[in-house]
Symmetry: C2
DNA sequence: CTTGCTGTACTATGTAACACAGTACAGCTA
DNA sequence: TAGCTGTACTGTGTTACATAGTACAGCAAG
């Protein structure tokens, strides 16, 4: 079962929480290639939000190549493919990562602690890439 | 010399770019403890933005313990201190890091590549923590 | 073919964040 | 005293976010 949790009033908008959680579910293997994800209206009803908000999140995920839409059928987890050039990937990763690393140091973490932390979080993805084609 | 660059029209608001860049400058050693940072009005004039926008960014940095204000004198880089509990630090780091790691995997990076990337970016902070008390 | 789901695309509305302009006041320092 | 500093307001315009409601086309099961 695929669960989504949202919180209102926080600094992160609803559609962004949807994007992050679907992406995380795909990356961690909770969702596999070809799996259907909740329909726009179904998820909207479940989370008690507007269906346009879900559609906006899904559209973002389509742009990122995480999911694909099939008119009249629904959304499905897309097979992985390269969207951006290697240089663009590096640029995007650096842009997203640098502020987080600066904040981590500000919070008092040492470089070793940060590296260990990242390794620990990444370890959750290990099974996702190995147990994929039974 | 301490330089700040902002871009408008992007997804990141101006005050957030200020926060990130000042924090990065402190973390990388471009700014040391006790160093003055540009005054609210001076930086506002330099970047051609409203002084309230700068004040908002600086207030955020004060909340995070990165800088301190002295009435009538200006802002200065604060000495490091612990603001949050260890558990809160872990929670914040995980919250900030997880979406970035998910996006990194989506971009096509392997876990090894991500770890190497993080280590590479962290290496820039090494000199900042060693060459501090001459 | 009809029914009911699906994605998709609009218009319109309300709220909040962001940034601006201008003003004002208190503290520090030369 | 003069001129800088931080700080705190009020007010305004723009944009992002989310809502409500509607509409239409594609797919699939009855």
């Amino acid at each position: 079962m695929f669960q989504v949790q949202i919180t209102t009033g926080g600094d992160s908008p609803i559609f962004r929480q949807i994007v992050d959680q679907v992406r995380a579910a795909v990356v961690t293997g909770k969702l596999s290639v070809g799996d259907p994800i909740p329909s726009v209206r179904a998820l909207a009803a479940e989370l008690v939000v507007n269906h346009n908000t879900i559609a906006k999140a899904y559209a973002q995920l389509v742009r990122d190549g995480v999911i694909e839409s099939q008119q009249g059928r629904g959304y499905f987890v897309a097979r992985k493919r390269q969207i951006y050039t290697q240089a663009e990937c590096n640029r995007r990763l650096a842009a997203a990562l640098d502020p987080v690393l600066s904040e981590a140091v500000t919070l008092g973490f040492s470089t070793d602690q940060i590296l260990a932390f990242v390794a620990k979080r990444l370890r959750r993805y290990a099974d996702a890439s190995t147990a994929k084609d039974p």
